[in-house]
């Protein structure tokens, strides 16, 4: 895909001071804010995980009370899902989408600003409840990130209402972001860039944005129903008033399942950008990749009750959801095969982004296998609510989504900053992270199969050895992320100058802009052939 770039003024004058960030309408600055926000929350959520793993290092209660442990697991989940993975992907969308389609900015730059600033507000509220809990002033949310009723309604602590408000704020942020993404992609592509010429990352975000718009409002409905059940006399989830706690689960998972695809489709897009670059070969099967992504998105709406096989569903329901979930393996498999085919007979080099991308393919596929095992109903009766599930979703979310974000940062940092990052340190970060992540999460498969339930602060003796291993892995993993922090800061501040192309084999409109990309880029759209 060639592009003819016209001469453009150097639109590189940036505003200054605090106002530059508070009032920004620039997709690059807003993208940076999202990414720094996500990075900060990664350390916060990670610290909570380290306390959890420290408590689980040995049988017995050593560090925290069971009540507080439940708050830790709840906040860890909420922060990682809503405060790290989702904002990081939005940050990448903000930075990359306009450049990739040859647009000067997002379609709605002022709404873009508001979408970002809602997040520190939302998390400020959530983290305040944790701080207050530590200071002895009541409990932070303690019902798991999935907040089932009636534990979260009738039995929820006072902070639950702040949790509900916080979720509303996050939801509004996501929906506005999604609207922005769709308007940008639909209306601002450079002339000549029709839909089937868009970079694949743009496609995956386009589809993810539709998923967000479809399901975040349902989450908003669910938490509003919680609020009225708690304070305004309704009985959506309270059997006493004719309601049904299981209905909560249906409504939640109707949101919850597409949500996990929201957290992986952009990852697929990133891998589909990186693998061709470092294989020096075009992406294999571009149209299938687009159709596979769309099929996954569609199928994600009809599988939700595979989270609920033990609630007492009739057999017909169990069978339907088992079959529909098995189906998702097909388009997902197609994507994995296409990535491998892209690598096949390419000219591969393994700089840090490619290392993370290859690790993604290996390890996300691991998560995919355990996902297939989980959807088999009779077997799920033994896996449900055990560490086998915890292993599964950490493989797809950590060695899946999080690795793709790290890959993307390494891949595009030189374009953003104009400097190459330190490749040696990058590789150290990769190997430490990859190995420790497996030491952390692989043993969880074993203890889950051996019978260890999830969300417990203490466990029977037979689970001790693998838990100890996992805890060691956790600490190495956590501290290795400090290398990543160092690499990023060092790169922002300087380094070997990056070329326009950055990577041999890199294709795309963003790689036709100078490095660093100017503050305002493509103010005149390129002509795409």
């Amino acid at each position: 895909m060639n592009a003819v770039i016209e001469e453009h003024h150097d639109h590189d004058h940036k505003p200054s001071g605090l106002g530059r960030w508070l009032f920004s309408t620039n997709h690059k600055d807003i993208g940076s804010m999202y990414l720094w926000f996500a990075f900060t929350m990664f350390f916060v959520g990670g610290a909570l995980a380290l306390i959890i793993r420290a408590e689980l290092f040995q049988p017995g209660m050593q560090i925290v009370e069971p009540e507080f442990f439940n708050q830790l697991t709840t906040l860890h989940g909420l922060i990682m899902v809503f405060g790290v993975i989702m904002p990081a992907f939005v940050g990448l969308a903000n930075w990359q989408l306009p450049m990739m389609i040859g647009a000067p900015d997002m379609a709605l730059p002022r709404m873009n600003n508001w979408s970002f600033w809602l997040l520190p507000a939302a998390f400020g509220l959530l983290l305040a409840s944790l701080a207050m809990s530590i200071m002895g002033m009541g409990s932070a949310p303690n019902f798991g990130w999935t907040f089932y009723a009636p534990l979260s309604t009738t039995y929820g602590p006072d902070s639950t209402d702040y949790f509900i408000f916080s979720v509303h704020l996050m939801g509004i942020s996501s929906v506005m972001g999604a609207i922005n993404v769709i308007a940008t992609i639909m209306n601002m592509r450079a002339p000549g860039m029709n839909y089937m010429k868009m970079p694949i990352f743009v496609w995956t975000w386009f589809i993810t944005a539709y998923l967000l718009i479809a399901v975040m409002p349902v989450l908003a409905g669910a938490v509003t129903m919680m609020l009225t059940d708690r304070h305004f006399g309704t009985s959506f989830f309270n059997a006493a008033g004719g309601g049904d706690p299981v209905m909560f689960q249906h409504i939640f998972w109707f949101f919850g399942h597409p949500e996990v695809y929201i957290m992986i489709l952009p990852a697929f897009g990133i891998i589909s950008q990186i693998v061709p670059t470092f294989s020096r070969k075009p992406l294999f099967g571009y149209s299938s990749m687009v159709y596979a992504t769309a099929s996954i998105a569609f199928l994600s709406f009809i599988v939700w009750a595979h989270h609920m096989f033990t609630t007492g569903m009739p057999v017909a329901g169990e069978l339907f959801f088992m079959y529909s979930t098995m189906l998702i393996a097909v388009p997902t498999g197609v994507k994995v095969f296409n990535w491998i085919s892209t690598m096949w007979r390419g000219a591969l080099t393994f700089e840090t982004p490619m290392l993370f991308a290859v690790a993604f393919i290996f390890l996300f596929t691991m998560g995919g296998f355990t996902g297939l095992m989980l959807c088999i109903v009779p077997a799920d009766f033994q896996y449900h609510d055990t560490y086998f599930v915890v292993a599964h979703f950490h493989y797809v979310l950590v060695t899946g989504a999080a690795f793709s974000i790290m890959a993307a940062v390494y891949y595009w940092l030189p374009k953003w900053t104009g400097n190459m990052y330190d490749e040696t340190l990058g590789k150290w970060h990769f190997w430490l992270t990859c190995i420790s992540a497996n030491v952390l999460f692989f043993p969880m498969h074993f203890v889950g199969l051996a019978g260890m339930p999830r969300r417990i602060p203490d466990y029977a003796l037979q689970f001790a050895e693998f838990n100890q291993m996992a805890s060691v892995g956790a600490f190495v993993f956590g501290f290795s992320q400090l290398i990543f922090l160092y690499v990023v800061i060092k790169c922002v501040r300087g380094g070997q100058k990056a070329t326009t192309e950055v990577w041999e084999g890199a294709k795309g409109l963003e790689f036709e802009l100078p490095s660093p990309a100017p503050f305002h880029s493509y103010t005149t759209p390129p002509q795409v052939k």
Binding site: A54, E55, F57, P59, G60, I63, V64, P66, F68, N70, G136, L151, Y155, A239, A240, P245, S279, R280, P282, G285, Y286, T310, T311, V315, L319, M322, Y323, M326, V330, V336, F337, T342, M343, W344, R345, A347, V358, T365, M366, F369, L372, M373, I376, V377, P378, A379, F381, Q382, H384, D385, F446, L449, G451, P453, I456, Y459, L461, Q462, A464, E465
Partner: protein, 370 residues
């Protein structure tokens, strides 16, 4: 910070002088029922299919990584699609999935038929214990974790069945189809015994069913499998399967015990009897929150040692234990414990840890207060 953390914790971490628990179990157990066996079989089939697919996929990747590097393959190929291959790797996975779906469906269908059961037990989840009610037999009791707080707090060595032992086990006869009926009295819990392959949610206001037919006598252990509050990890399940005669003998014993318990509520107890019974009952029902030493958890669970309630008005103390305290985590124990147990706990609370009121609360006092 005390409400949240344990000061001794870090020291324990550093000492790390745990005996080796070495039980590196890697796989699911086949268990003792047709459910657990069915689950194990289908798990094995799917797992091996995944392993084979993994070998092929990871093998191809590894081959590519080793042989298609720029250093040994500097001229990359240019192909970027191949319709035949794409069709093949869409259709073949579908066929593999069909191959999995058929046995999975069969196993599931066999599990779901609860008809023609020989007996039923109603299982009710409570925060944080189980209640078992043998339908039609007039035998019902609570089943609490019996692992002591001292073991949990690392003050005593942990027993072999740490966290997986209870005061009153469920007992069932072997070779009979036992139907379980699940509900909850507060939040959603889940009853899970891996060896039976039975896991079902216990939902307040609703009844769920499952069943098990256990061929072998033995003791089978499980845990609650749905987050239900602070002590979710501390409400285990123990089921003992006995031969039919032993089961019937146990049933008779249980009925006699229950009769004795209600009879004991009629008699007058001595201080020694109340303190002894009170200490064990307190440790089972109250110590998880109020601690073995009665000191509670500041800002979370009030202390009983030296508290105005336990040295103040007896009537108020009895009322709190029987009826709980609305809007707090203090449950009403009236419906859960009999008069003798309650009297013993209250007497113990009023006299232990230096409280020394000298007060004696008889079961009849509790009965009058209800």
């Amino acid at each position: 910070m005390r409400a949240v953390s344990r000061p001794s914790g870090l020291a324990c971490l550093l000492l790390a002088s745990n005996p080796s628990y070495a039980d590196y179990q890697l796989n699911l157990e086949p268990g003792v029922t047709s459910f657990s066996q069915g689950a194990y079989d289908i798990h094995t089939i799917v797992m091996w299919i995944c392993v084979v697919i993994g070998i092929i996929v990871y093998g191809a990747m590894t081959y590519s990584i080793l042989n298609h590097r720029k250093s040994n393959n500097p001229n990359p190929a240019k192909f970027d699609d191949n319709t035949t291959v794409e069709i093949l790797w869409t259709v073949i996975p579908v066929l593999i999935l069909l191959g999995i779906a058929v046995p999975a469906t069969k196993v599931l269908m066999a599990m779901e038929d609860t008809s023609n059961s020989d007996m039923s037990i109603k299982v009710t989840g409570y925060q944080w214990k189980w209640h078992y009610d043998y339908v039609g037999e007039d035998v019902s009791f609570f089943s609490n974790m019996s692992t002591t707080q001292e073991q949990i707090n690392n003050k005593e060595a942990k027993g072999e069945h740490y966290l997986l032992e209870v005061d009153n086990k469920m007992v069932i006869p072997t070779n009979k189809k036992v139907r379980f009926l699940f509900t909850s009295s507060d939040v959603i819990h889940a009853w899970w015994v891996p060896a039976f392959g039975v896991k079902k949610d216990a939902i307040p206001g609703f009844i769920n069913e499952s069943w098990a037919e256990v061929p072998e006598p033995g003791i089978y252990r499980g845990q609650c499998a749905e987050l239900c509050g602070a002590n979710h990890g501390f409400m285990p399940i123990v089921v003992e399967a006995k031969s039919e005669e032993d089961y019937l003998a146990w049933l008779d014993e249980k009925k006699a015990e229950q009769a004795a318990a209600s009879a004991s509520a009629e008699k007058t107890w001595t201080m020694e009897e109340l303190m002894a019974h009170g200490e064990t009952t307190y440790n089972t029902y109250c110590a998880a929150c109020h601690q073995v030493g009665g000191e509670g958890l500041p800002n979370v669970f009030p202390a009983i040692k030296g508290s105005p309630v336990s040295v103040g008005d007896v009537g108020k103390h009895i009322d709190i234990v029987i009826n709980g305290v609305a809007g707090t985590g203090m449950q009403a124990f009236g419906p859960q414990l009999n008069d003798a147990d309650l009297a013993a706990i209250i007497t113990y609370e009023r006299n232990a840890w230096g409280n020394n009121t000298g007060d004696i609360v008889q079961p009849s006092d509790v009965k009058a207060a209800r």
